[in-house]
Symmetry: C2
Subunit: 358 residues, 2 copies
Amino acid sequence: MLERIDVTVASKHYPIYIGKDLLNQSHLIIQHLSARQIMIVTNSSVAPYYLSKLQAQLHDYQCDTLILPDGEAYKTLETLATIFTHLIEHRHHRDTTLIALGGGVIGDLTGFAAACYMRGVDYLQIPTTLLAQVDAAIGGKTAVNHPQAKNLIGAFYQPNAVIIDVTTLSSLPEREFKAGLAEVIKYGLIADATFFNWLELHIDNILARDPATLTHLIKVCCQIKANLVAQDERDKGLRRLLNLGHTFAHALETGLGYGCYLHGEAVAVGLCLAAEVSQLLSNFPYSDILRIKQLIAKIGLPIALPNTLSIKQLLSLMTNDKKAKLSNLTLILLKSIGLAYCEHNVDYQWLYNYLKCK
Amino acid sequence: MLERIDVTVASKHYPIYIGKDLLNQSHLIIQHLSARQIMIVTNSSVAPYYLSKLQAQLHDYQCDTLILPDGEAYKTLETLATIFTHLIEHRHHRDTTLIALGGGVIGDLTGFAAACYMRGVDYLQIPTTLLAQVDAAIGGKTAVNHPQAKNLIGAFYQPNAVIIDVTTLSSLPEREFKAGLAEVIKYGLIADATFFNWLELHIDNILARDPATLTHLIKVCCQIKANLVAQDERDKGLRRLLNLGHTFAHALETGLGYGCYLHGEAVAVGLCLAAEVSQLLSNFPYSDILRIKQLIAKIGLPIALPNTLSIKQLLSLMTNDKKAKLSNLTLILLKSIGLAYCEHNVDYQWLYNYLKCK
């Protein structure tokens, strides 16, 4: 069965397809290509599984390929330059289409390359990790990292389509699959208490990667994100709720060095920290903190800061985050499960003292 | 006297101010700042003349400065990375405003940095060269060069305002001033025969840099460009007329190495080549080719390819240009002075043979 969700923003209207074996359905891809040139950007972990399958659908096209090394450490301006060089050496023109085949790093890099190459060419997202399928590939946020801050350099740039083949999750390493579930939990926390309950009830089926269960899970997440993005493409209001746990997580990733924690692992810790801060600032129930930590722990994700990074280091890095203002912090917090809000002017010193004593 | 032209595109509406001593009129600048943070980006040639004057208007702000080396050779991804590092080290947030104080290179770099930093912050253009005042700073095209193609990597990203202080032209080196006049001539050729006549009549006053003459000249150019940009922000139709001579010019700059010819010098040659091709493809009068060459020569700009670059090398580089399609070229040509059009499918081999025999 093929599910379809539509994303509507000021600049564009495009579909997200979700289903099994979509990589074999060439019409889904071909109808979204602008001309005869394609550049598939993927990485060395994904390519052996899915590249030839994708290429087989595109034999009528000038289909070039760039296989990058795998990992967040390569989400840099330098890798971006490699993509541009590859495009120009293969003489790609304004009507080329880039295809991102891989996880969030490949999607962010490829999307940003598409945004900048000749001031903007078309691209498709074919996410192959859970994290990318429920989050990174949806909504047009593209970026590379700066050594001092994650996603610092980027663009809002929407794809022509997002094609989510849930079959690709079968090859996803256990650690990455679990990391993706942190973002899934986040959707329940910010917007859908019923979905959070459903996650608690179906966690065993989810961890067993039952295809029907995963299809439902991805569809709910994409719909929540599409709704928020439609109301606020440029992240100036409602969309910021999606950053629940992320101000902590970005600082954590920067502090530990990119590539140490997976993004979802850092988000898991961030969700727990956000819930704890919410307890004091908005009466978020202690029992719900426990529910969140139980679900995260059951998955096997971390629920607290590692010993190698102090609260002080973490907070210092947080003031570099895009969401931070000059002296105080803005944090996304929870009123209840399913209801997030934006708390401005969280005092840096107060937060330090509070988290230090936890 | 303060002249004002408004630019309206889908994404934004903003003013261009033109007049004498505008750098001393702090209200013009301050009304377009989003918050308390500013980063002035300028270069080592412009800074000694105008930086302290600009800073003096902004003493109530966190006003940081980045002085880059001067020249097209620095319009690279590496310099862009330097700007990002400077912004993050001075803890600039989403509501910062960048100010481009300089010529086209500074404007393109700063505008593209603003487009990408935290996925988009505000910026102002304060162009100090004739070329930037009549062309580069108007219309929101930002970019850096790739070693193999000029302006290959960039964004359409509009400033909050453009502030053109014609007084700054008094310090402009003779060679740069003259190079800027190539773009001025281009406006007459593509859209305004009366303006072309006016240029022929007033060329002595222009070369003497009479302020009233220059104010009129800049205003006409900005109005023509604003009209075209309003109809076609993303360069998919009418705006391409602005590329008259530029497909040749970009290839010429790439072939000779950035920094050898000034952009306007390459455009001067490009205008002559475009006029010659127009003669055969659209009956552009030979007498008008002579008028164009006479005006360009009177300014002291080149009217033919230098001996160091062959027609063959030039055409090979042109197929890498953003405006080029796979096998044939698209060129902007002239039907008459004041009337440009887009000629698709110019055969590569035909063009080679034709230009070779000229």
